[in-house]
């Protein structure tokens, strides 16, 4: 499912003393099959943007859009696959089945008595007909297995007895159990220890490979972005500043730092090396960085001999 947003704007509490503009004229296209990153400060509009993608926040009605067109402003388009999200009549429940959304700290949305019941919640909600116990078991087993949990061992446990990392994986399983084509995750690794972070990122790769076609992550952690994403968008004050593959994006380290954002460790190292007169070019993944450094080293060695 291709995601196309054009001239998308959104204001919270419009027409009240608390109004806050979250998105200003955002245009962004995410192709099917991408591992897309969204970076930005708190309050830059990134969460607001992703919540648009499964209709949790709606674009203004067609009436308002007509007014906008008359005022000479460009018209908003927002489509996910064949779903037109600017149309009120769109079946948003059907859309949500295809666009899975994992919120920040998803473990806080667990509620059922058993892990199985919790994971099956979305499955039952989206099912066209009543599912048999075997069908539920099968889908839940598959979802739990892909997040690295053993179905037999955990299905009857209370989700509240699990460890933090396990809870988060159960919560993710509860979203992917319907096999969405697009999976959106808001800070999937927030609050986890380094090992937990690595496990979550490995899980996302597994999901991207053979479960969900498109994966979109919202993240503060630039290393996550540089290591994993095909492209990344940088949000600042409700606007999209850059949409680039990490290899090109982190060439703009100075601009990013000026925006108050971090850059990946590899970009910091490349910068420090440049300051010492060592010019290396790499794609800012750990592996790419190592290859570039080794290539430079061999070249120097070759020249010295």
């Amino acid at each position: 499912m291709r995601i196309v947003a054009e001239h998308l704007s959104y204001t919270y509490n419009a027409k009240s003393p608390f109004s806050a503009t979250a998105l200003r004229d955002v245009s962004l296209t995410i192709e099917e099959g991408e591992f897309f990153g969204i970076i930005g400060h708190t309050g830059s509009g990134k969460s607001t943007f992703v919540q648009h993608l499964n209709g949790l926040i709606r674009t203004p009605s067609s009436l308002k859009r007509k007014k906008k067109r008359k005022a000479g402003e460009q018209e908003t388009t927002l489509t996910v696959g064949e779903y037109d999200l600017t149309n009120k009549k769109t079946n948003f429940r059907a859309l949500r089945r295809h666009v899975g959304m994992v919120f920040q700290y998803p473990e806080y949305q667990l509620f059922a008595e058993t892990v199985k019941a919790d994971v099956a919640f979305g499955l039952k909600n989206f099912a066209d007909k009543k599912l048999t116990e075997e069908e539920i078991d099968e889908a839940v087993r598959a979802a739990l297995e892909v997040v690295g949990l053993d179905f037999e061992e955990i299905k009857d446990a209370s989700p509240f007895e699990l460890s933090g990392g396990q809870k988060r994986r159960v919560a993710i399983a509860g979203v992917i159990v319907t096999r969405p084509e697009v999976l959106i995750l808001d800070e999937p690794a927030a609050g986890l220890d380094p090992l937990g972070k690595r496990e979550v990122m490995e899980l996302l790769h597994r999901l991207h490979k053979d479960w969900c076609k498109t994966v979109i992550i919202v993240s503060h952690d630039m290393d996550e972005i540089s290591e994993n994403c095909t492209r990344a968008a940088v949000f600042e004050e409700g606007q999209v500043r850059y949409v680039l593959p990490p290899a090109q994006l982190f060439e703009k380290s100075d601009e990013l730092i000026e925006m108050g954002l971090d850059v990946p460790l590899t970009a910091k190292l490349v910068k420090l090396l440049r300051e010492r007169g060592v010019e290396i070019a790499c794609d800012f993944t750990t592996e790419g960085f190592l290859q570039a450094v080794l290539a430079y080293y061999r070249e120097r060695k070759g020249a010295a001999q």
Partner: protein, 277 residues
């Protein structure tokens, strides 16, 4: 984050906003007394005048002020209807028959119409003045004001400070929990939960996926807050200092004169001006 505003505080800077919350609470009580002391329309006119002054000096938009009456609109209409139809009386206030209709227990009289107008005005003034208090005072300073006014109860060992603390924590947590509710609701909606479809039973059951995480989170937050307060050695027994000290200013003095003039005026009118009503 659909509705960050909570309660009806209208944030702006104005004369009325800057008044001491204690004074505003006392004024509201005095105003209610004045409304009930007023026996005729002159008295209510004085009350209306003062209220108009308050609204003007508070810079709260008129639309918002009128909206506060909407909540009691049913009560207003009910009161008016009751008195128009069931108030017997022979008084004549304008040219025409004193009694328009008299059938069984139903009496539509001039006296009834006038009296119901009187009651409606009273009710509207009461509600509007009360909401002016909440429009111009943040919940936190309202709590501070109540705490300060209740200080005398400390002499009878009533835990005024603890009560005020409980109140302000509760107020503080309302927007947080509302935010949390919205987030959990969105998360469950993303998993296909539907809060609109189905009969009553299904709808009520549909709230379980919101309520369970919400209650858990409320307990978690309460625990964390308790720990944080303990870590900073909070205790309500000691004499505590305030970040924002309540202080009477020249504004409150002006307000006090307005209040005194209103009460005096209403009492004088009650004694010397009998009619109408």
């Amino acid at each position: 984050m659909k509705d960050v505003s909570f309660g009806q505080y209208y944030p702006t800077k104005s004369f009325v906003h800057n008044l001491d919350p204690r004074f505003k609470i006392v004024f509201l009580i005095a105003y209610i007394v004045a409304i009930f002391l007023a026996k005729n329309f002159y008295g209510l006119a004085a009350c209306t005048g003062v209220l108009i002054l308050i609204v003007l000096f508070s810079r709260v938009p008129l639309g918002k002020v009128l909206r506060s009456v909407r909540g009691v609109l049913f009560l207003v209409i009910f009161t008016a209807a009751l008195n128009i139809f069931f108030h017997p009386g022979e008084e004549v206030y304008w040219n025409g028959p004193a009694v328009y209709l008299s059938y069984g227990i139903i009496h539509v009289t001039q006296a009834g119409i006038v009296f119901s107008l009187f009651l409606v005005l009273r009710l509207v003034l009461l509600v509007t003045c009360a909401s002016m208090l909440t429009y111009t005072t943040t919940p936190v300073s309202l709590t501070d004001g109540i705490e300060s006014l209740l200080t005398p109860l400390k002499w009878v060992r009533f835990p005024v400070h603890a009560m005020a603390l409980i109140m302000s924590i509760a107020l503080r947590f309302i927007p947080i929990l509302m935010d949390e509710t919205e987030r959990i609701k969105n998360a469950q909606k993303a998993r296909g939960a539907d809060f609109e479809r189905g009969g009553l039973f299904k709808k009520v059951r549909g709230f379980v996926p919101i309520l369970v995480p919400l209650i858990l989170s409320a307990f978690r937050r309460a625990d964390e807050l308790g720990d944080a307060m303990d870590a900073r050695c909070y205790s309500s027994g000691k004499k505590r200092t305030k970040y924002k000290k309540l202080r009477f200013t020249w504004r409150d003095l002006i307000g006090f004169f307005v209040m005194a003039a209103l009460i005096a005026g209403v009492v004088v009118m009650r004694i010397y001006l009998g009619a109408p009503l």
